[in-house]
């Protein structure tokens, strides 16, 4: 079982991950989806965390139920974030986590800056909720489910969708 520990301490480890293999994410990841990407691209706010060596999880959770760490939190469709993404890998973003294929521009930026794209299991919000150990709002708190949450996960399953060499699991 391969683990990807986030935030990255050593970028060189990303070379060990190959498209099509199952990995388990352990550590801190940040949720962000359509609205946050759009607002920041228009200069209406800044990323509330260091992009370098961190990961963005495309996710808008359900509200936190009583007695649980976090709400249901599966991946949303990544391609809606494609146009914003190359600039983020350029700034040193280690990984994005979502579902579905990415644009050629995103693949190129992952190759160029040495990142990775992970595919989480679509529709599995309850499964992923079980992997969350801690969660706290980290920014854009007025956006409800579209706010940025800092979540600490353990044993979060995902498949390497695009690797740092440009290997792509969606190449048909």
């Amino acid at each position: 079982m391969k683990s990807l520990k986030l935030p990255l301490k050593d970028r060189a480890v990303l070379k060990n991950f190959k498209a099509g293999e199952l990995v388990f994410v352990d550590g801190v990841i940040y949720t962000a989806r359509d609205r946050v990407h759009d607002l920041i691209s228009k200069g209406r706010g800044k990323w509330p965390f260091e992009l370098k060596n961190n990961a963005i999880f495309y996710c808008g959770p359900t509200p936190k139920p009583k007695g649980r760490n976090f709400g249901s939190c599966g991946p949303t469709t990544s391609s809606r974030m494609d146009s914003y993404t190359p600039a983020l890998y350029k700034k040193g973003l280690a990984a994005t986590i979502g579902k579905g294929p990415r644009s050629p521009e995103v693949i190129e930026s992952i190759k160029k800056y040495g990142g990775v794209y992970l595919v989480a299991y679509g529709g599995c919000g309850a499964l992923y909720a079980e992997t969350v150990r801690e969660a706290e709002p980290a920014g854009f708190k007025d956006l409800g489910p579209q706010a940025v949450y800092k979540i600490t996960v353990s044993g979060f399953p995902a498949v390497v969708g695009i690797d740092s060499r440009g290997g792509n699991v969606f190449k048909r």
Partner: protein, 270 residues
């Protein structure tokens, strides 16, 4: 699919429906879970891991009473008024809208709309004795890939199949496969799309020859469960048909995700 009776009194009917709204996002129809289980036994590699993850997801959601998917969707509801219902004097739109909002609050559903939760409600009268209700939360990971085609009235079913397979191909694994594909043919544009959504509420895994052929063609795309390659791109194809206009044929295509959440019951109000 099991169609149980839900008994309600006029003074608690909203609570009963709100309870069903919550169940609709936490429990999948048993027949569907069984089909996923069968598929996971056949599958290999990553596809198998994904299907096992989906089964685990269903277990957790039901046991913990939390939503299967964070996208608890826009609720689409079919209300078929029975002959003997005492609901004839009730504003069904208001009743279901309020029940959905109550379910949202109580069940911890996500605010996925740009305004207050606003269900889409189809109200019909039926010849059945009892009133039948079908509740489906439509998540937009899959709803976004819905298509309407206005095609030639002489189009063969082969041509129609080609169009549908192309729609599934171009979705390219995004709407959470293995899919449940709903097809509506005939009527007006809006009816064809509505029929294709309604086709997704028929969960029996019994197929006509045409549905079977189309399912085989879709599975030849090899997008696989999870969309990263495999043999199980779709679990079902259901077609609903109405007569078409002589000058054109309306074709609605719903590419439903694997988590095809449907809750159907007879509502007995006394």
């Amino acid at each position: 699919m099991q169609e149980n009776i839900r008994a309600a009194k006029l003074n608690n009917i909203k609570d009963v429906i709100a309870g069903e709204v919550i169940k609709s996002v936490t429990v999948l129809p048993g027949e569907l879970v069984e089909e996923i289980r069968k598929s996971s036994r056949k599958a290999e590699g990553i596809e198998k891991k994904v299907l096992e993850g989906m089964l685990k997801n269903c277990e957790i959601a039901e046991k913990e009473n939390i939503p299967l998917c964070q996208d608890t969707g826009i609720f689409e509801i079919w209300f078929e008024l029975g002959r003997e219902s005492i609901l004839k004097d009730i504003n069904v739109n208001d009743l279901f809208t309020e029940a959905v909002r109550q379910g949202h609050k109580k069940g911890g559903l996500r605010d996925s709309m740009t305004g207050p939760p606003s269900p889409v409600i189809h109200i019909e009268s039926s010849n059945k004795k009892n009133t039948r209700v079908t509740i489906t939360p439509r998540g937009f990971g899959s709803e976004n890939y819905t298509k309407l085609h206005m095609i030639d009235p002489n189009a063969t079913f082969e041509k129609i199949s080609e169009i549908i397979v192309e729609d599934v191909k171009s979705a390219n694994g995004r709407p959470c496969p293995p899919y449940m594909v709903g097809i509506g043919i005939g009527g007006t544009a809006s009816q064809a799309v509505e029929l294709s959504a309604r086709a997704l509420t028929e969960i029996d895994f019994k197929f006509t020859d045409r549905e079977k052929d189309l399912l085989n063609e879709i599975n030849k795309l090899s997008h696989g469960a999870g969309g990263m390659g495999g043999s199980i791109t779709a679990l079902a194809v259901k077609i609903k048909e109405r007569p078409s206009h002589i000058a054109g044929k309306a074709l609605g295509v719903h590419i439903g995700c694997w988590s095809n959440r449907v809750r159907r019951f007879f509502l007995e109000v006394s």
